[in-house]
């Protein structure tokens, strides 16, 4: 009898340790709270080039993360990338003429969407489109432009 209680105790401790480890993984490693904060409203923006932007990339305003990129797909009629952004419900008072641009954090870091608030009185809501967008900087284009300018400058 005593022996079987010890076995039960050990098994209970084992299962509890496993569940606790899963809990810690959820909270500390994957930060499930940020995952839940992604519940909010969705706005879309059309970009000519999204560069290396990926789903789940952060959406920031003034450097503070307020949402995530939820979906990227090609719009077949406009031939532009349609980027859906889910913005947390706490930030439901952004002006409707907010502009979006794709930026890179650091030289080699991940790409994110930076929002620039406008001045319109009415707020963005579910399904709205961001009219002002700026594509990702593509390094090859910049180098090409630089070389072209150099060439033009040299011939003068």
């Amino acid at each position: 009898m005593e022996n079987s209680r010890r076995v039960d105790l050990a098994v209970g401790a084992f299962v509890a340790a496993g569940l606790a480890a899963l809990f810690v993984l959820a909270m500390q490693v994957s930060n499930i709270t940020a995952f839940q904060r992604a519940e909010g409203y969705t706005v879309v923006g059309y970009f000519q080039n999204v560069g290396g932007l990926r789903e789940r990339a952060p959406v920031r305003l003034g450097g503070v993360q307020i949402g995530r990129v939820s979906d990227i797909e090609l719009d077949q009629s406009r031939f532009e990338a349609r980027v859906a952004m889910t913005i947390a419900q706490d930030y439901n008072d952004l002006p409707s003429d907010t502009a979006a641009s794709i930026r890179t954090s650091g030289l080699l870091g991940e790409q994110y969407i930076s929002l620039e608030p406008g001045g319109m009185p009415d707020a963005l809501s579910e399904g709205d489109e961001l009219m002002l967008t700026q594509s990702a900087l593509v390094l090859e284009d910049i180098i090409g432009q630089f070389l072209y300018n150099q060439g033009a400058g040299g011939s003068e």
């Binding site: 076995v7 401790a13 084992f14 299962v15 959820a26 490693v29 994957s30 995952f35």
Partner: protein, 258 residues
């Protein structure tokens, strides 16, 4: 020449027959799960010997795998000035792949071989036949709780392995290599998703638990009832489980992460 073809055909037929027997066996055992639900004591004893006793090797190897990942990852990342991403690298490789797979391989060596040897010896000493004589179904009484214990323990062990790996990586990364502790955790939290990474790892380990348990109990139940047969069955359990887990992992990864 004819003999060669005969042998080839016979061994092919043989393996297909074994596979069929194994599947039917699995279905019977799953159907017989009512026994340990009604008598949880049976399951408790198996959870103890399959899960709790495997814990030590899982804890120690989890720590060391995390530490090694941290060291090697650091040396690669530091060339690109990206050593802040060490936490992401370690956490993603552990939750998605190494946690479930290495746990399943260690499990096959520590618990799977023991299960096969135990059941094989029960068969060799005619304990299983004796149970049948007493109208006790050995598949329900002996096999089903062992399979259930493997199925339950492996995900728990994998989660513990993953967590300890990350802790080991954290210790080596911050104390030994000088990675910033805040960046280690915050980048990890920003990049690792619970639904995509952690849960998919748990799903993987559930399947590995079923496969590892199934192969172990089947090989024990199906072995030749001699000392030579038991030893061959034990070896086969470890080899087949390792191969099955690695192959299954490839398929699951291809399905889960695009």
């Amino acid at each position: 020449m004819t003999v060669l073809f005969e042998r080839l055909g016979a061994s092919t037929l043989n393996s297909i027959t074994t596979l069929g027997r194994a599947v039917l066996f699995l279905l019977r055992v799953i159907a017989g799960c009512g026994e340990w639900v009604r008598r949880p004591g049976l399951l408790m004893r198996e959870l103890y010997s399959v899960g709790v006793l495997t814990l030590v090797i899982i804890v120690v190897s989890g720590l060391f795998v995390g530490m090694v990942l941290s060291l090697q990852g650091y040396y690669t990342l530091v060339d690109f000035g990206a050593e802040q991403s060490l936490g992401v690298l370690v956490a993603l490789s552990l939750t998605r792949e190494l946690g479930p797979v290495v746990t399943a391989l260690l499990f096959a060596g520590r618990a799977g071989s023991a299960l096969t040897a135990e059941i094989g010896l029960m068969k060799a000493t005619e304990q299983l036949a004796g149970m049948e004589m007493m109208a006790v179904d050995p598949e329900r009484r002996v096999i089903a709780p062992r399979l259930a214990a493997a199925f339950i323990s492996l995900p728990l062990l994998a989660v513990i392995f993953t967590l300890l790996g990350i802790i080991g990586a954290y210790i080596v990364g911050t104390a030994l290599l000088g990675v910033d502790a805040g960046a280690f955790w915050s980048q990890m939290q920003a990049q690792v998703s619970f639904g995509d990474d952690v849960l998919n790892g748990v799903i993987k380990s559930l399947l590995f638990g079923l496969v590892a348990g199934w192969i172990a109990v089947f090989n024990g139940y199906d072995c030749m009832p001699t000392s030579h047969g038991v030893s061959r069955a034990t070896t086969r359990t470890v080899v087949v489980t390792s191969l099955a887990v690695l192959a299954l992992d490839f398929v699951l990864t291809a399905l889960m992460f695009d």
